[in-house]
Symmetry: C2
Subunit: 207 residues, 2 copies
Amino acid sequence: MPYLTRDEPVDESIGCRILTAALQLFVERGYHNVSIHDVQKRAGVSIGSIYNHYGGKEGVAKGLYRHLLTELEAVIDNVIAGTPSPQAQCERVIRQLLDFTESRRDIMAFIFATRHREFLPGEPPICNSAPFMRLRDIVRHGIEQGTFRAMDPWVGASAVFGGTIRLIQLRLDGMVTQPLPELADELIVTTWRGVLPGEITTSAREA
Amino acid sequence: MPYLTRDEPVDESIGCRILTAALQLFVERGYHNVSIHDVQKRAGVSIGSIYNHYGGKEGVAKGLYRHLLTELEAVIDNVIAGTPSPQAQCERVIRQLLDFTESRRDIMAFIFATRHREFLPGEPPICNSAPFMRLRDIVRHGIEQGTFRAMDPWVGASAVFGGTIRLIQLRLDGMVTQPLPELADELIVTTWRGVLPGEITTSAREA
DNA sequence: GTCTATACGCTGATAGAC
DNA sequence: GTCTATCAGCGTATAGAC
């Protein structure tokens, strides 16, 4: 069952095979360029099974969406529970996301490079999903207790995670060729300089 | 003709009416949830005209895509030409993008919140388009001449523009309710702290 | 529960009048 | 160049056998 946290999908149940095939195809071609027949073919099951398990194409996407967000939420909650400060929590989450981009490319692409709104109108937008709210809560908490500089919470969240998300998207689009974990240290240093308090001694060096 | 730089689309030509209608519909529902008939209806023209002007649905999207990127490129080139330092160039571009998010919402949504790859397979990905390359060039130039700290160019580009792009996307998704220009100063301060050189005096304040 | 065969609607595209 | 009427193909969903 777990896609994000286990190495091989040991679960060979039909439901899991359907979700795995759908994830691959949706990421490869985009939801609307994938037909039920494509999913059925790659999963090695029949159309009837798909309708029995998920009620149709949109049901498959909905099941996949909820499942992956639940897994991501669990990962983040684990980090939060096992890490003391907001700063350390953010840093661990960032590193984890960079790692996942290499090891779980499809999942990251489905989460960070998909317009779910276009095929899951009933679902809450991904920015409002539990894992993303958790991340914003960390930042807000950090701002309140002075770990981060005082600033608008949305600016804070964008400053802390915007660079990471952008880098992930550039990597998923094939622009960045270097594995992201190798860039983690530079990215994190830059991120902390942006949001941590402290005076910055800018020696004016404009020509 | 110009969408991004002029206030009202004075051009009432059929070609412009088609692009305007398509832009609205694509942003509202997503490319695949819009039919030719929808575009034809909203533009107040016939299907035949659409095929005469753009050769079909994908042609409309392609025309829109190229036109908007060309306009954005011109805006960025103007900023570059009229602004001395890489830092000032980035800052002016960021403020301009935040302004456009309020005044040209549809255009920004089409550029920053659309998976063009899913319906324009022949076009180069938007990260490789001229305007985005220009932005990266500014950052690379700034790193080379020491305006920005030494770092991987991709990390630099993500650090400079990632927060802005994230904030724009959150605004387009309706999460951020405040007009972005009001948040510009905070965002820019944070961005520069991240990438500008200079020692930062972090008084350790972890509890 | 799983599968195959089929039906129906929608949509992109075309033909041909004006 | 602009328009209307029409077609053909695809894709979702269902019916019904096993």
